[in-house]
Symmetry: C2
Subunit: 195 residues, 2 copies
């Protein structure tokens, strides 16, 4: 990857990432970006062509980060259930929302193939990791053979994203934690008593 040769470019990506996370694409102005990044306007337009270009770079950065976290959690030691719960219970700022999931609420991101791609890819990675760990669990007799790995993976991903929504609506992390706990409790019911 590109080394830290370029301070301004780097700071712009990080600044954009933070703003997109909190305010979304429509809510983020180029002016806010260079101010938040501590960079001059001219400098910003030297490094990036404009707002979509900035957003794409920031999205790719955020997508990389989340995909790495996902892979880390699922690469750990432990039973299938342990790895799943490790990921779901990982420390998070539930009130801030998901840095990736937040983006797709914006129509300008949803409608643009290029801007949507990092989001799509990240959820695909999460879904693939969940599916394969559930399959492993089934093969090991940890989960009932009757559960559908793909469907269950989708349900778990969704609980996760939806948890953020519920938490923000209550202005409390409680609903997020409760939703995760509920999902894990349901999942445990697909485990034979021996586990």
């Amino acid at each position: 990857m590109a080394d830290r040769q370029d301070g301004a470019r780097e700071r712009l990506i990080e600044g954009t990432r933070e703003l997109l996370w909190d305010r979304g694409y429509v809510g983020t102005s180029p002016t806010a970006i260079w101010r938040a990044s501590g960079v001059g306007q001219g400098s910003m337009y030297h490094h990036f062509q404009g707002k979509p270009d900035l957003a794409l770079a920031a999205e790719r950065r955020a997508a990389q980060a989340m995909q790495q976290q996902v892979r880390e959690s699922f690469a750990r030691e432990g039973s299938a259930y342990e790895r799943i719960s490790e990921y779901l219970l990982r420390e998070r700022d539930a009130l801030r929302g998901c840095p990736i999931g937040r983006l797709i609420a914006d129509p300008e991101i949803a409608a643009d193939e290029r801007l949507r791609e990092p989001v799509r890819e990240t959820f695909a990675v999460l879904h693939a990791c969940l599916t394969s760990v559930i399959e492993e669990g089934k093969a090991a007799g940890e989960f009932d053979a009757g559960i559908d790995a793909e469907q269950t993976a989708s349900a778990l991903s969704a609980v996760f994203q939806g948890g953020y929504t519920l938490a923000r609506a209550e202005a409390s992390t409680g609903p997020f934690e409760q939703a995760i706990a509920g999902a894990l409790a349901l999942l445990r019911r697909s485990m034979p008593a021996s586990h």
Copy 2:
């Protein structure tokens, strides 16, 4: 409620509701509202004080509609599981997102007590309905006594909201349907064989 005496006011509320649903609060301009509503600008500012006022009226309208749908589904005949699945499988435009859940992604709505309230209230109603139907199911022996009604209700609400996110990311309703199906499948595993 107020009758259809006031065409302009009514059309403004509906227009705002549509725009908020698709574009969120930051993405919705007063100009877009009066244009979409087929109303003059002066007329709009006669009926409403400004953007927050318009948004609040539209949010309340949307909240009423969703709460009514929720209550309808859970008031039906049928077992607890049937009523839950009736609601979850109800016809929806998954790619458009939830008209209520969409709002809370916006920082200006999340940060404003008044604008957040209709969202909070609506999810509270959904959660209460789910919780009580699960309790009924437990009492009737339909669900295992071991499941926590509140947690499970949170998990189901979250699957729902998260399903929209996943669907938009893929630009397909598939992930939404798969997540719902996965959640219902897990729920069925908390039902004794007799049901």
